[in-house]
């Protein structure tokens, strides 16, 4: 008999977390489609928009400086919400999740792996976008306490969007249908949330719609980092509203978490 020694202890949480994080990083960075779609698309958009829409916003600030905040917010949305919704829907429909839930892997390890993946992709996107912005378009990097705001807006936004992405994955039948619903949704959000156009130029009712979702608040928080305070006057409230940015994103974190807890499934529907 080859029964395991009764004293053999289950592997420690950190060791399984490390293993899952490695799996998730390899799964993402080795897949050409996800790397191109999630990482290179924002870069391409920055290059094109930076070259084409290089007008002055006033106070000597170029649109590229404005666009920097928006494209970073959109990049975070892609790395978290779109990435999670599509990848988890795929893994649910192809049986990967079912397989994992039949192993002694602690379930928290699955989510830790996903969070590490989102973090790594988010940091990669931000670094690449900043590099290109500085080298090719003369973007002014944030200074002093702006870095702190940059960090918390990005982290809180990524957290809210990751949770929402995980929750959205349960609505889709498979990865393909998740992609078909989430991608247009994200694109529309980008158009009405002040990513591609100045938020102040967008019709009020669209602004109102955008204000429900996290992207508008992420972009606004990041504008406070990249734009001089004089331009805060162009915001709908006449200020950066950082308190409200934190509040809305935190509420989305709570809503996303509740949705995840209530809707997350390890198996396809109909096999429960």
């Amino acid at each position: 008999m080859s029964a395991p020694a009764p004293e053999a202890a289950l592997p420690s949480l950190p060791s399984v977390y490390r293993s899952r994080a490695t799996v998730e990083l390899k799964e993402f960075f080795r897949q050409r489609e996800s790397v191109v779609f999630t990482l290179l698309l924002p870069v391409l958009l920055l290059v094109v928009f930076g070259a084409v829409l290089n007008f002055d916003l006033g106070s000597g600030v170029s649109f590229t400086q404005y666009f920097m905040a928006g494209i970073i917010a959109a990049g975070i949305l892609g790395a978290s919400l779109q990435n999670m919704a599509i990848s988890i829907a795929t893994e649910r429909s192809d049986g990967t999740l079912k397989h994992l839930s039949g192993t002694p892997m602690p379930r928290s390890a699955f989510f830790v792996g996903k969070v590490v993946q989102v973090l790594a992709v988010t940091v990669a996107i931000i670094v690449v976008l900043l590099l290109i912005g500085v080298v090719f378009y003369g973007i002014d990097l944030p200074s002093g306490s702006d870095w702190l705001v940059f960090a918390w807006v990005s982290a809180l936004g990524a957290a809210a969007c990751t949770l929402l992405g995980i929750a959205l994955s349960s609505l889709a039948k498979n990865g393909r249908s998740a992609s078909a619903t989430v991608t247009p949704f994200a694109l529309v959000l980008q158009f009405i949330s002040g990513v591609f156009f100045q938020f102040s130029e967008i019709p009020t009712w669209m602004q109102t719609v955008a204000s429900v979702f996290p992207l508008k608040w992420m972009a606004q928080g990041l504008r406070s980092v990249f734009l001089p305070d004089a331009l805060a006057a162009d915001e709908p409230a006449g200020s950066w509203e950082l308190g409200r940015v934190a509040l809305v994103l935190a509420v989305w974190c709570v809503v996303g978490l509740l949705l995840c807890v209530r809707t997350f499934r390890w198996q396809d529907r109909g096999t429960g």
Partner: protein, 299 residues
């Protein structure tokens, strides 16, 4: 099914207490999906160290029964113990003693075969060495190939590798060879036999009769959610005591005779023909004959 003493001895009756020594003990299991009753009062014990094959047509309740034992599905009535625990409350420690090969394997992975087996090993307290496992399933040469690039048969062998790397006491195999070519199935069978030699208990579902006959110590036939019979493969459906059919050609016509004593009958025939009997054949009902009869009766 108390037609033969052997069958009575291997099969618990409804109302018997759970067998605490069994790897799997099931009493009165019922599972419904809406109006449809998928499993309808199933009693079964699977002993430690044996290979048990659950045989039945599609939709008979094989996968439902197995997935209840694996902890994937709940049940509507009955008692189930798998390695002493109720699967509905399976702990991590309990799952560490199981190996599960699902009917459909995982997705297209970017990880290599070896990386996938190592990741799986990292969830278990006392895993086998990844390279040993790959050797065992015959994937050594594919160790550096990404999961997504495997063929169907290779993918299935990877599923088995993932199922056994945790050194399970009990291995579930749900239709493991569907889609295999004959050569791959033979290789797979020898893998299963070597796992049995290592002491692994196995519950196998299949709709290939030759597979059940070649591998299983005991076979359970399931139809319409009920166990129709449990027996060793050679005795299924009273096959070992069923009359043999002797056939030969005489005066240009095909003659057949059913007899309980085929040896004596053939000897008499041989004397009558004083030598070779033309086109002599002696046949017993095949597993397929009795199986089709069994599931036919239930329809």
């Amino acid at each position: 099914m108390t037609s033969t003493p052997a069958a009575a001895a291997v099969r618990p009756a409804p109302g018997d207490p759970l067998d605490p020594t069994a790897a799997i003990s099931i009493r009165g299991l019922v599972k419904r999906y809406g109006e449809f009753t998928a499993v309808d009062g199933l009693d079964l014990d699977i002993h430690r160290g044996e290979i048990f094959a659950l045989l039945g047509p599609n939709g008979a309740g094989k996968t439902t029964t197995v997935e209840i034992c694996e902890g994937y599905r709940g049940r509507d009535a009955g008692e189930v113990r798998v390695l002493g625990a109720d699967p509905a409350e399976g702990s991590r420690r309990w799952k560490a003693r199981l190996g599960i090969v699902l009917q459909s394997g995982g997705g297209d992975s970017q990880l290599t075969v070896r990386e996938l087996v190592r990741a799986q090993a990292s969830y278990y307290p006392d895993p086998r060495d990844a390279d040993e496992v790959l050797e065992l399933v015959g994937l050594t040469e594919k160790a550096g190939v990404r999961g997504r690039a495997l063929s169907g048969g290779q993918r299935r062998r990877l599923d088995v590798a993932l199922g056994i790397v945790g050194r399970p006491e009990l291995l579930f195999l749900d239709e493991p060879t569907t889609g295999f070519d004959p050569e791959a199935r033979r290789q797979f069978w020898s893998l299963i036999r070597s796992l049995r030699d290592l002491g692994t208990t196995m519950l196998l579902t299949t709709h290939y009769l030759d597979e059940a006959e070649a591998l299983a110590d005991r076979v359970g036939v399931i139809a319409r959610g009920r166990l129709v019979e449990v027996a060793v493969p050679s005795a299924l459906g009273g096959r070992e005591t069923a009359p043999a059919v002797v056939s030969w050609t005489e005066d240009g016509a095909r003659r057949t005779e059913a007899t309980a004593t085929p040896t004596a009958f053939v000897r008499a025939l041989a004397e009558r023909f004083s030598g070779e009997v033309p086109d002599l054949a002696v046949a017993r009902p095949t597993l397929e004959d009795v199986y089709l009869q069994m599931i036919g009766h239930e329809r």
